[in-house]
C-alpha cells in the first residue's frame, strides 16, 4: 500500500495537465466536426452526390407498391419514385440503395438522416407533418381505410363490426383511426395487434379475427393475391378515412424538399402533357409546346433553381415513364382501378402544378 503514495502526490498536477491537453484537443476537432455536421445538414443533395447513391427507405414488401421481383430486384409504384428521383439527381436510376423499413421504424430512419427519402405508403397528416421533423412531398396515391371480411360473415358496413375482433398492424394510422371510429360511433371492438402486415394477414386467414383493416389498396391486393378464392372475401366499400400517401423527407432542407416536390410533379405533368418514356427523347427537342421542351431541358429550363442541371425531369421520365405509366405498370395489373388517382381532367384528384 505504501507504494501507491508516491504517485498520489503527482496526481493533481497530472490531472490538470491531462485536462488542459484534453480540452485543447477537444476544442479543435469538435469545431471542425461541428462544421461538418452543419455542411451535412445544409445540403442533402451534396451528401447524396458525394455518396453517389440515393438512400431510399421503402416498404419491406407490398405487392404493387414495393416488392422483390424474381431476380431479387426491388419493383413497385413507390420504388419507381426512388428510381425517378435518382435519375433526376444523380443521372442514373440504378444509383439507389433501397432500405426496407417496417412501419413503426419508418420516421426514425428519415429523422436520423439515414434515408434521404421515405418512399412508401405513408399517410399525410397534420401531426406527422408538424411534430416529427419531416415534410410530405405530395400525394402520390389517394387511398382510404377499409375492412376485409369473409363474405359469409354478413358484415356489409363498418358499423356491423360491433363487438368484433380486428387484426391491425402496429404503429399505423389505421390503428388510431379504427379506435377513433369505434369510439365515435359508440361501438366496441377487440384489437389484435401485429408487428407487421404479414403476421396480421396470416392470423386473419386463420380465423383469429373477424376483420382485418388497413388501406383499401392493400386489402384489395391481399384479397387477390393471398386467398385461394378471392370471392370468399369482401373489401367493404365504405372508406373510414382519407389516406393520401406520398414520399417524405426531412424538414430541415428546403432545397431537397423542393427537388422532391418537383420531381413528383414532373411525373404528373408528363402524363398531362403526353410525355412518355418512349417519346421523351423526341419531345425534348421536337415538341411544339415550349413548356414541354422547357420541362425536359430542351430549352434552358428550371434546373438551376433546384440546384440541378436542366435534364433532371427528362431523365426521371425516361427512367420510369410518367405517372400514368408507373401506375399501369404496377397497380393496374392487380385489378385495382385508377379511380381517384386519375388526372383532374379525367375526374380524378391528380392535379399537376404548372411547370413554369
Amino acid at each position: 500500500m505504501n507504494r501507491s503514495h508516491a504517485p498520489r502526490r503527482w496526481l493533481p498536477a497530472l490531472l490538470a495537465a491531462g485536462a488542459l491537453l484534453l480540452s485543447g484537443c477537444d476544442r479543435e476537432p469538435a469545431g471542425t466536426g461541428g462544421h461538418e455536421i452543419a455542411a451535412a445538414k445544409g445540403s442533402t443533395l451534396a451528401r447524396i452526390r458525394a455518396r453517389g447513391t440515393l438512400n431510399c427507405a421503402i416498404h419491406t414488401g407490398q405487392l404493387g407498391m414495393s416488392y422483390l421481383d424474381q431476380r431479387g430486384r426491388w419493383q413497385g409504384f413507390f420504388v419507381d419514385y426512388c428510381r425517378a428521383l435518382a435519375a433526376a439527381v444523380l443521372g442514373d436510376a440504378r444509383k439507389v440503395r433501397f432500405m426496407p423499413v417496417a412501419s413503426n421504424k419508418r420516421f426514425t430512419i428519415v429523422q436520423t438522416g439515414e434515408a434521404d427519402v421515405l418512399s412508401r405508403t405513408t399517410t399525410w397528416t397534420l401531426t406527422r407533418d408538424t411534430d416529427l421533423g419531416v415534410n410530405f412531398v405530395g400525394t402520390m396515391y389517394y387511398d382510404g381505410q377499409s375492412f376485409l371480411v369473409p363474405r359469409r360473415s354478413a358484415v356489409r358496413l363498418p358499423a356491423d363490426l360491433d363487438g368484433a375482433s380486428i387484426c391491425i398492424t402496429k404503429g399505423t394510422t389505421s390503428e388510431l383511426n379504427t379506435a377513433e371510429y369505434f369510439e365515435r360511433k359508440g361501438l366496441r371492438f377487440q384489437s389484435v395487434v401485429f408487428e407487421n402486415p404479414e403476421e396480421a394477414k396470416l392470423a386473419f386467414f386463420a380465423g383469429r379475427c373477424d376483420a382485418m383493416t388497413t388501406d383499401a389498396f392493400t386489402l384489395t391486393v391481399i384479397r387477390l393475391a393471398d386467398t385461394a378464392h378471392p370471392d370468399d372475401y369482401v373489401v367493404l366499400p365504405e372508406r373510414l378515412t382519407k389516406e393520401p400517401v406520398g414520399p417524405v423527407v426531412r424538414s430541415d432542407d428546403e432545397q431537397w424538399y423542393e427537388i422532391n416536390k418537383w420531381v413528383l410533379n414532373a411525373l404528373f405533368a408528363a402524363e398531362e402533357m403526353g410525355v412518355t418514356r418512349a417519346n421523351a427523347a423526341r419531345m425534348r427537342m421536337a415538341s411544339r409546346d415550349p413548356e414541354v421542351r422547357k420541362m425536359l431541358g430542351g430549352l434552358p429550363g428550371f434546373g438551376k433553381s433546384l440546384g440541378l442541371d436542366d435534364g433532371w425531369a427528362y431523365r426521371a421520365i425516361e427512367a420510369t415513364g410518367n405517372y400514368g405509366e408507373i401506375f399501369d405498370r404496377h397497380i393496374t395489373p392487380l385489378g385495382v382501378e385508377r379511380g381517384q388517382n386519375k388526372l383532374y381532367r379525367d375526374g380524378g384528384l391528380i392535379y399537376p402544378l404548372p411547370m413554369r
Binding site: 508516491a6 504517485p7 498520489r8 497530472l14 491531462g18 484534453l22 477537444d26 469538435a30 461538418e36 455536421i37 451535412a40 445538414k41 431479387g72 440503395r97 432500405m99 423499413v101 412501419s103 413503426n104 421504424k105 420516421f107 426514425t108 429523422q111 436520423t112 438522416g113 439515414e114 411534430d131 416529427l132 421533423g133 363490426l161 363487438g163 368484433a164 375482433s165 402496429k170 404503429g171 390503428e175 388510431l176 379504427t178 379506435a179 369505434f182 369510439e183 371492438f189 377487440q190 384489437s191 389484435v192 395487434v193 408487428e195 404479414e198 403476421e199 394477414k201 392470423a203 386467414f205 386463420a206 380465423g207 383469429r208 373477424d210 393475391a225 386467398t227 385461394a228 426531412r250 430541415d252
Partner: protein, 730 residues
C-alpha cells in the same frame, strides 16, 4: 523510464480513461441534443399525459383509446406483471414435476424427462413461442364451430366462466378483506389467527353469495362472447414461458436435491419415515434453501422473457412502449422507461425473496452442499443380452406401481411415435408441389425442397448464395475445430476471429470479381452464426476488463463497471436491441450512418459482455487470495499479476460457464428479428406466408428447430467435455 515514472503512468491510466470517457459522453450528449433539435423531436415526459388514441386488446383495468399514454403504459405493466406471475408459478410447479420424474427410479421416466429438458433448453424461446402460437392458431378450430360449453377453447383463446360481483357486494368484500388484514396483523398468536381467518372467510363469503353471479361464455355474433376470455396470445406467452423455464428449474431443483447430504435421507429412513415423508419433510425443505438463489435468478429471467410478447402482439409493457414510441417518436424516454421498469421489477423480486429467505432463517446465498452429481441412472447394458432381464426387473418393473407406470409410458410413447412416424414418413408427401401436399395428411417435404434456400439464405441474391453457404461453413467448421482438445489454446480465439473475417468478406464481396452485396440483404443461417460468434468473441475482452473493473479498489473504475453490468443484466435483451436500433442513430452525427446489422451486433456484444463478466468474476473469486499475495511478494506489478497469475486460472475455471453463455447467445440472436434483422428464425417465418405453403409451418419450424438444437446441444456437450477435462487435470 524509472520505476517511479512507470508507476506514475500506470496510476494515471484510469484517470485518463475516466476523463476520456467524460469527454466522449459530452460529445455524445451534444450530438444528441443537436440531432433532437434538428429533427423537431420533443423531449421530456409531458407526452405521458397526451391522448393515446390506440386500442389495447387485453386489459386488466378499464382503458379506452381516449385515455392517456400513461394509462396505456399502466395497462402494459399490469399485463407484464400478470404474465410474469403466472409464468413463475406454472414454471415452478412444472419444474418440480419434471425434476421428480428425472429423479425417478423408473429408467424410462427419468430418460424421457431428460429428453424433455434437453429439447426445451436447446431451442430458442422465441422459436418455441412461434410454434405454440402457430399450433394454437392453426391447430384449434375457428370460432362458431360447434356448441359453446362452459369451458370453450378455440383459436381466439380460452373462454371460461367468470365470477361477477354487483356493486354493493364489491364494497362489502373489500371492507371485509381490509378488516381481516388489520385484525390478522394485530393478532399474532397462532390459534387466534386461525380462528380470525376462518371467521372472516365466512364473512367474505356472504357478499359473494348475496351479490355474486356467474357469467358463462356463450355464442355471440362474432365468436364466443361473455365469461372470461384469455386470448391466444396470452395463452401462448404463458405456456411458452412456463415450459421454457421449467426445464431450467427442474435442473436447479435436481441439483439442490442431490446436494442434500445423503446422510439426511438415510437418517430419515432409519427413523422409520416413509420415502414420501423423507422427501417432503427432510429433503425438499433443505433442498429449497439451496435452490432459492438460482431459482430467483431464473424467475428474474422469466420476467425479462415476458417482454418477448412483443413478437406475437401481446400488449405487455415493451409492446405498449413500442407502440408509444412509434406514435410519439420519443424513443429515448421510451427505452428509458423499459430499462427503469425492468430494473425496478428485478430489484423488487430480489428484495422480496431475500426478505423471505431471511425470515425463514436461511442465508440468501444458499449453503454449500456437496457438489452436484450426475443422476444415478443405471445405463442400459446394450452389449450383454444375458443381463437384459435382470436390468429390466430392477429399472422398469420393480413393484406393481413401477410396472404400471412403465406400461403406461410405453403405451403413450408407442402411440406418439406411431403418429409421429406416420406424419413424418408414411403419410408424408415427398415429391410434387403444394397441390400434392394438400391431398396427403402427413408432412409436406416438397415445402422444404422449395423453401430450404429461402430459410437458410433468405434475401441473399440467388446467384451468389454459395458465398452465404461458404460463410456459414467457415463458422461451422470453426465450431467443429473447437471440439478437438489439441486446439484448446488461446490461439483458438484468433482462429475464430479469422473465420469471422472470412465470413464477413465472403458475404460482403466487392473484391476479386465477387459482386458487392449490401448488408441489408444478408439473411438466414450465416447471419445467425455471425451474430452469435461475433457476440461471444467480441464480448470476451470487454468481459475481462469489466470483471477486473468490478473487483478494482478504485471507485472510479468499480462503480461504472458495476453500473454497466447490473443495468444490462437487469434489462431484457429486447430493451438493449431497441436501444441499438432506435437510439443509436440519435447519438451519432447524421453523416455517419450505420446499418442495422452492425448496430444489433454491438448491442449483442455489450449484452454478452455483462453476462460473461460475471462468469469470469466468479472464476476470479475462486482463486485463493494467496495467489495474488504470492505474486505481490515476488514483485510482480498489478497488471503482471492479473495477466499471468489471476486471468489464466480464472479463465480455466470459467470456461464451462463461458460456453454456457455462448449457448444462450446462439438462442438470443433470434430476438434480432424484432428490430428487423433477417436472421434464421425470421426467414423461417417468411417461408410459410405464401398462401399455398401456409399450412406447412410445422415443417419449417422442425427444420429450423433442428438446426438450433444441433448448435446448442453440441455446444453444451463441448462445455461438459471441457469440464471433465478440467476435473481430470486439476
Amino acid at each position: 523510464m524509472t520505476d517511479t515514472q512507470r508507476r506514475l503512468a500506470i496510476a494515471a491510466v484510469p484517470w485518463l480513461l475516466l476523463a476520456g470517457g467524460l469527454v466522449a459522453a459530452y460529445g455524445l450528449f451534444a450530438t444528441l441534443t443537436d440531432n433532437l433539435a434538428d429533427r423537431n423531436i420533443r423531449t421530456g415526459f409531458d407526452f405521458l399525459f397526451d391522448r393515446a388514441g390506440f386500442a389495447i386488446g387485453d386489459t386488466l383495468i378499464a382503458y379506452a383509446p381516449g385515455d392517456s399514454y400513461a394509462a396505456a403504459l399502466a395497462v402494459g405493466l399490469l399485463n407484464t406483471l400478470l404474465i410474469s406471475a403466472l409464468g413463475i408459478i406454472f414454471s415452478t410447479l412444472l419444474g418440480l414435476a419434471v425434476c421428480m420424474a428425472r429423479l425417478s427410479s423408473n429408467w424410462l421416466l427419468a430418460r424421457l424427462s431428460g429428453l424433455y429438458i434437453e429439447l426445451v433448453r436447446n431451442i430458442p424461446l422465441l422459436l418455441q413461442m412461434f410454434v405454440w402460437y402457430a399450433v394454437l392458431l392453426f391447430g384449434l378450430p375457428g370460432p362458431g364451430s360447434g356448441a359453446v360449453g362452459a369451458f370453450d377453447l378455440d383459436n381466439r383463446g380460452l373462454h371460461l366462466p367468470a365470477f361477477t360481483l354487483a356493486d354493493p357486494g364489491r364494497a362489502v368484500l373489500l371492507t371485509a378483506i381490509v378488516a381481516c388484514a388489520i385484525l390478522l396483523g394485530a393478532a399474532r398468536r397462532g390459534a387466534v389467527r386461525t380462528r380470525t381467518t376462518l371467521a372472516f372467510a365466512g364473512i367474505a363469503l356472504l357478499p359473494l353469495l348475496l351479490w355474486g353471479g356467474i357469467d358463462l361464455p356463450r355464442a355471440g355474433r362474432f365468436g364466443t362472447s361473455g365469461g372470461l376470455s384469455l386470448s391466444t396470445e396470452f395463452l401462448t406467452l404463458v405456456a411458452s414461458l412456463s415450459v421454457y423455464a421449467s426445464a431450467y428449474l427442474a435442473e436447479i431443483f435436481r441439483g439442490a436435491i442431490l446436494a442434500v447430504p445423503a446422510g439426511q435421507s438415510e437418517a430419515a429412513k432409519a427413523l422409520g419415515l416413509s420415502p414420501a415423508q423423507t422427501m417432503g419433510r427432510i429433503v425438499i425443505p433443505q433442498a429449497l434453501r439451496i435452490a432459492i438463489p438460482p431459482m430467483t435468478s431464473w424467475h428474474l429471467n422469466t420476467i425479462k422473457n415476458s417482454s418477448l410478447g412483443v413478437a406475437i402482439g401481446y400488449p405487455e409493457f415493451v409492446s405498449v412502449v413500442d407502440t408509444v414510441i412509434s406514435q410519439t417518436g420519443q424513443a429515448i424516454e421510451g427505452v428509458g422507461l423499459i430499462v427503469a421498469t425492468f430494473l425496478l421489477l428485478s430489484l423488487s423480486l430480489s428484495f422480496v425473496t431475500d426478505r423471505y429467505a431471511r425470515r425463514l432463517g436461511w442465508s440468501a446465498a444458499g449453503q454449500p452442499g456437496r457438489s452436484i452429481q450426475s443422476s444415478p441412472l443405471e445405463p442400459f447394458p446394450l452389449r450383454s443380452v444375458a443381463a437384459w432381464p435382470s436390468w429390466m426387473r430392477r429399472n422398469l418393473f420393480k413393484g406393481w406401481r413401477q410396472s404400471i407406470l412403465t406400461i403406461a409410458i410405453l403405451a403413450m410413447t408407442a402411440a406418439f411415435v406411431g403418429r409421429g412416424l406416420s406424419w413424418l414418413l408414411f403419410d408424408a408427401t415427398f415429391a410434387g408441389g403444394a397441390a400434392d401436399c394438400r391431398l396427403a395428411s402427413g408432412a409436406c417435404w416438397p415445402f422444404l425442397r422449395e423453401n430450404a434456400r429461402l430459410i437458410l439464405f433468405g434475401t441473399y441474391p440467388e446467384a451468389e448464395q454459395w458465398r452465404s453457404a461458404a460463410a456459414a461453413a467457415a463458422l461451422l467448421s470453426c465450431l467443429a475445430f473447437s471440439f478437438v482438445p489439441r486446439f484448446w489454446r488461446s490461439r483458438l480465439g484468433l482462429v475464430w476471429l479469422g473465420a469471422i473475417a472470412v465470413a464477413v468478406l465472403l458475404l460482403r464481396g466487392g473484391f476479386a470479381g465477387l459482386p458487392y452485396v449490401p448488408m441489408e440483404k444478408w439473411s438466414g443461417l450465416p447471419v445467425t452464426l455471425l451474430l452469435a460468434s461475433l457476440a461471444v468473441v467480441g464480448a470476451f475482452p470487454l468481459a475481462i476488463l469489466l470483471a477486473f473493473g468490478r473487483r478494482s479498489m478504485r471507485r472510479g473504475v468499480r462503480w461504472p463497471s458495476i453500473a454497466f453490468i447490473e443495468l444490462v443484466r437487469g434489462t431484457p435483451l429486447i430493451g438493449v436491441l431497441f436501444l441499438a436500433a432506435v437510439l443509436f442513430p440519435l447519438f451519432v452525427p447524421s453523416y455517419l450512418s450505420i446499418d442495422s446489422l452492425p448496430r444489433v451486433q454491438i448491442a449483442l456484444i455489450l449484452f454478452t459482455a455483462a453476462y460473461m463478466a460475471e462468469v469470469i468474476r466468479g472464476g476470479l473469486l475462486a482463486i485463493p487470495v494467496g495467489q495474488a499475495e504470492a505474486a505481490h511478494a515476488l514483485g510482480l506489478t498489478k497488471w503482471q499479476t492479473r495477466r499471468h497469475i489471476l486471468l489464466p486460472q480464472a479463465l480455466k475455471v470459467s470456461v464451462p460457464g463461458l460456453v454456457n453463455t455462448s449457448i444462450s447467445e446462439v438462442k438470443n440472436t433470434t430476438l434480432v428479428l424484432i428490430v428487423g434483422v433477417f436472421d434464421l428464425l425470421q426467414t423461417t417465418r417468411l417461408s410459410y406466408v405464401e398462401a399455398q405453403w401456409r399450412p406447412y409451418f410445422a415443417e419449417a419450424y422442425l427444420f429450423t428447430g433442428a438446426i438450433f438444437f444441433f448448435l446448442c446441444f453440441s455446444l453444451s456437450r463441448l462445455s461438459m467435455k471441457i469440464e471433465r477435462k478440467l476435473n481430470y487435470a486439476g
